[in-house]
Amino acid sequence: MTIDTTPKMTWWNRLSHPGQFVALTRPLVLPLALLTGVLFAVGLWYGLFSSPPEKYMGDTVRIMYVHVPTAWLSQFVYATMAVSALGTLVWRHPMADVSMKAAAPLGAAFTAMALFTGSLWGRPTWGTFWEWDGRMTSTLVLLFIYLGIVALWRAFDDQLRAARVVAVFTLVGAVNIPIIKFSVDWWSTLHQPASVFRPDGPTMPGEILTPLFAMFFAFTFLFVTLQLAAMHTEVRRRRITTLERRAARGDLK
């Protein structure tokens, strides 16, 4: 009797092969992009035309439909990076470091957008572009961490080695972000008590919630689409680098 010991190609195994990963997920990109487009169309229609201006803030409340989703993504993308970092360190999953690398610039972009829209919104409502408020400050620190991670990726020549080092740093950052958040809240309440104005009221009417949710999902699917596309690009970039190295050694004709 013989026992079949050849490894089974489970979906997990297939995902860990870069070529298989691209082949499996490539058909997903177009539907995801279409879904994102539809969600953006719905969200923008509701957000710009079909929702009333807010009683106190007027039309500036519409900035929220971009601001809140990007602010949520600034944290969600870091969570994605931290999970990918665990995948790199614990399982050494080959696609985990590709995902980690693809997510870093996206996270930096969403965080910068959240800060930018928040600052545009702050000018008419708070009267200032920048306030050293707890949330804004910790988002700014988060942006610096993202940019540091992008710089760290670029400092390495060998991307496989870079992945493990960046993974360690990403997890150190993940442990630190709650501490930073707590310390900044403690600091800003110490410096300016009661001046922190929270624009999000206790309840929101449905006309505002509908576009907010639509935009929320639109931005989340935008991230998923861009993340997949960036991962495919990264896989191809690595393949090209390998081919170039082989060509330089003379292995290819």
Partner: protein, 221 residues
């Protein structure tokens, strides 16, 4: 344990005999602090108010400057490769280096801080609290610094990268460090900040050698 002690004493001997590195660091610390009055004007009341912040920024910058020599020279001459093969775990070696880094890059600054206190018109009580908060907070900076130095040691153009990576992580240290000095939130707030600072330092010093050793180990092979 003997390996730990010998790494520690090697590091200390190297920086004591290595051509006045400690003196340069202390000079940098004092000069950064002494330049501020030229920028903001010699108003004694203002200087006394911002003095704790200036001392912390000077200490922060001085400690970030010394990061490159934490693992860089050891990697260049191959000592780091030997450490990875040593009997004691790499994290123990890193822990010894963190302690040595604190002894040679933070302790001299604290000893030199009376000079800055005098220049910046600090009163006696504030100065006492400043020394206490530096003593509590600089170990955390040394620990974060070790992580920053470890993740950039394998890169060819490390340079400014470690300070850029470490500065955002060190925000809580600065916040609680200055919070422990200034009594603007009342004495109970200052005490809370000092305790939080001590907690942060303990956590970072305990955990950072493992993270730094992991980064060194996996950045090399």
């Amino acid at each position: 344990m003997s390996g730990f002690i010998s790494v520690l004493s090697r590091e200390i001997r190297l920086s004591l005999r290595g051509g006045g590195e400690i003196l340069t660091l202390v000079l940098f610390f004092v000069i950064v602090g002494a330049v501020v009055p030229f920028a903001v004007g010699p108003d004694k009341a203002l200087l006394a108010r911002i003095a704790p912040g200036i001392v912390w920024i000077a200490a922060f910058l001085a400690m970030l400057l010394g990061l490159e020599k934490l693992f860089g020279p050891d990697r260049a001459d191959g000592t780091l490769a030997l450490y990875r093969l040593a009997d004691i775990p790499l994290s123990a070696v890193v822990a010894a280096k963190v302690i040595a880094h604190w002894l040679t890059a933070a302790l001299p600054l604290i000893l030199a801080s009376p000079a800055l206190a005098l220049l910046l018109a600090m009163d006696g009580e504030t100065f006492g609290r400043t020394v206490l908060s530096l003593l509590l907070g600089t170990p955390a900076l040394a620990g974060f610094g070790a992580i920053g130095a470890a993740v950039t040691v394998a890169t060819r153009r490390g340079g400014l990268l470690a300070p850029i990576l470490i500065a955002p992580l060190s925000v809580p240290v600065l916040i609680f460090g200055v919070g422990a000095i200034s009594a603007s939130g009342g004495p109970d707030q200052a005490q809370a900040a000092a305790l939080l600072l001590a907690a942060l330092s303990l956590m970072v010093v305990v955990l950072s050698p493992f993270a730094a050793a992991l980064a060194i180990d996996w950045g090399e092979d």
